[in-house]
């Protein structure tokens, strides 16, 4: 909620500034609105009060902690693959929390960008498999948008059968290849 509020305020500041501001300006505007005017002096007879700790949110780039969370093996955000049953395109329950975590990350980092690559196993027409992979990645995107990610943060694409994770020609390999992979800006 707070992130959304700040994003809104930043957007207002952006509009006021004629949309020529840099991302750093967006962040500064957000902080300023929460702390009052900088340089405002406390009253003479008043003890100097430590300004309240401000949870600044930098909307220009993901914070260092959240970036590392994307790579932290202990974070669900480091898990990037969603696997599917044969001829299935819906996200199985076991991957729901994974999708929710990534949707939350996008919600809290409005400048973050994501590519979802849908994949299929090797059987059948390469181009039809591009279509099937697209159906998988579109499904993940739709779910994330319903969970509060913004549409323009996510590009869903398909690699069809062209980028298998496993090279075999049996169900063991195919089940690893029917998947959607999540990549963040900078990773693609």
């Amino acid at each position: 909620m707070r992130a959304i509020l700040i994003a809104t305020l930043s957007a207002a500041a952006l509009l006021a500034a004629g949309c020529s501001t840099t991302p750093e300006d967006q962040a500064a505007a957000g902080v300023e609105d929460r702390t009052g005017k900088p340089g405002a002096k406390p009253g003479a007879d008043t003890r100097a009060v430590q300004p309240p700790k401000v949870a600044a949110v930098d909307v220009s780039k993901p914070s260092a902690s959240s970036v590392s969370a994307l790579k932290d093996p202990n974070s669900v955000l480091s898990k990037r693959s969603i696997y599917y049953d044969l001829d299935k395109f819906d996200v199985k329950d076991e991957y729901r929390s994974l999708v929710e975590a990534h949707a939350k990350y996008l919600r809290e980092n409005p400048s973050a960008r994501m590519m979802i690559q849908g994949n299929t196993d090797e059987r059948g027409s390469r181009e039809y498999n591009v279509g099937l992979g697209q159906r998988r990645s579109d499904g993940v995107k739709r779910m994330m948008v319903l969970l509060g990610a913004r549409e323009n943060q996510i590009e869903s694409v398909s690699l069809g059968e062209e980028k298998p994770q496993a090279d075999g020609h049996d169900e063991g390999a195919w089940s690893k290849n029917r998947r959607s992979d999540i990549l963040y800006g900078g990773e693609y």
Partner: protein
């Protein structure tokens, strides 16, 4: 849409025409029963060229599946196109047709091959012609000779001078290559560390459209063979794939996911103008192919629950279902004369090429392998090139349109796939 047209010089890619390392090799695995015996007598004086034209002519004719070479004993003096023909003598050698010719060196250093074709059974000359060529183009000249012989005897244009395109994968490296129809003289157009799929020749044969994954998603390019220029023609948000040329060479049908799902669009092949959406479904609509007369677009759609072939008027309109037998019919390719549709059908887990006669609805499965993909008609409609898997490796195979003659084009090292047979070259 910004940057619709971008001429790219890929830094991570070696875009060049260079001699590829390995060559295709053709083996006739099922020569068929009724092959016409033909005697191609070594052309007098061809030793000056440094390579044997007649060997290439013979190999071409045999590879068509319609001819069988007749052993010719050494003849002295070597006959030429001007030697009178003793029909009875050639009949006794069991030849139905005869080719006599010679090669002379011209004052400018180029060569000239002159030859005549005879029908031994009817005891009649069928025609004569001469071609001028340089030493480097001896192979192309031989293909021209074979095309002339083929056309004089069968009444149909030969395809020995045409080219094929295909993709070779070696480990993580992909190459888009072109070669003569016999697999010789292969050269690569594009080398990439990401997949390349769906090459298709423009109608005049000077451009190839394809899908490259070099930007981590499918993007459609048009590659100009003469100056190696690459043009991005579809790089919209989402996936861009399955290019198909309209017969006018100016329009491409493509599949885009920019509006969600996978839908058919028309684009100007030079990247100008706006995209025009021509399919409107909640299903996957893909693999468009224009009929040669430009009236229809055949495509794959799973709007009925399983992937089937449909067609619609090429400007858009109500689709009609074309395939009905089976639960998986994909990759439609209308024949050059528009009478037959080749496609891939799944039979008990096997993917095979089928032909549908569009006038009487008869279906004939013409391959007996398990993993057939990407059928592509020769421009004369007599053969279909396809990708298959043999011994765990991707190879190209060619099958005659009646299914009787099959050839394999194995490749030394790497998986070969995504074949596309080019048009007639003028």
């Amino acid at each position: 849409m910004p940057n619709l047209v971008r001429t790219l010089i890929g830094l991570a890619l070696l875009v060049a025409v260079a001699q590829a390392r390995a060559q295709l090799e053709i083996i006739v695995t099922d020569p068929g029963a009724q092959r016409s015996p033909i005697a191609v007598v070594p052309f007098a004086g061809e030793a000056a060229v440094g390579s044997s034209l007649t060997q290439i002519v013979r190999a071409d004719l045999e590879r068509s599946g319609l001819f069988r070479g007749v052993e010719v004993p050494p003849l002295a003096p070597p006959p030429t196109e001007n030697t009178p023909v003793n029909y009875g003598e050639w009949r006794s050698r069991l030849a139905d047709a005869l080719v006599l010719g010679s090669v002379v060196t011209r004052p400018d250093g180029r060569f000239e091959v002159r030859f005549r074709v005879y029908d031994i059974v009817k005891q009649a000359p069928l025609g004569a012609i001469a071609y001028v060529f340089t030493k480097e183009n001896a192979r192309a000249a031989a293909h021209r000779v074979a095309d002339f012989v083929y056309e004089k005897i069968t009444g149909e244009k030969g395809v020995f001078s045409t080219q094929i395109a295909y993709v070779v994968r070696r480990g993580a490296a992909f190459e888009l290559q072109i070669a003569d129809a016999d697999g010789e003289r292969s050269q690569y157009l594009l080398r990439s560390n990401e997949p390349i799929i769906s090459p298709v020749w423009s109608p005049e044969g000077r451009r190839i459209a394809y899908v490259s994954f070099e930007s981590k998603k499918p993007v459609v390019y048009v590659h100009h063979l003469e100056d190696r220029r690459r043009q991005v023609v579809a790089s919209f948000r989402g996936s861009n794939s399955a290019p198909a040329w309209a017969p006018d060479g100016k329009t491409l049908a493509v599949v885009l996911s920019v509006d969600g799902g996978s839908q058919l669009f028309l684009l100007n092949a030079d990247g100008s103008g706006a995209r025009r959406r021509i399919s409107n479904s909640n299903s996957i609509d893909t693999e468009p192919r224009f009929s040669n007369d430009g009236k229809w677009i055949y495509f794959t759609s799973d709007r009925g629950g399983s992937p089937q072939v449909y067609r619609m008027p090429s400007g858009g309109g109500e689709p009609q279902r074309v395939t009905f037998e089976g639960s998986y019919n994909v990759s439609p390719r209308p024949s050059p004369d528009g009478r037959v549709l080749a496609y891939v059908t799944r039979n008990a887990g096997k993917f095979q090429v089928a032909l549908l006669d569009l006038s009487n609805r008869q279906v004939q499965v013409i391959t007996d392998s398990d993993h057939d993909e990407s059928p592509s008609f020769a421009p004369n409609g007599r053969m279909i090139l396809l990708a298959t898997v043999i011994g765990g490796r991707g190879v190209l195979s060619a099958v005659s349109a009646d299914g009787r003659i099959k050839q394999r084009l194995p490749f030394a090292g790497g998986d070969v796939r995504e074949p596309a047979w080019g048009p007639f070259i003028e």
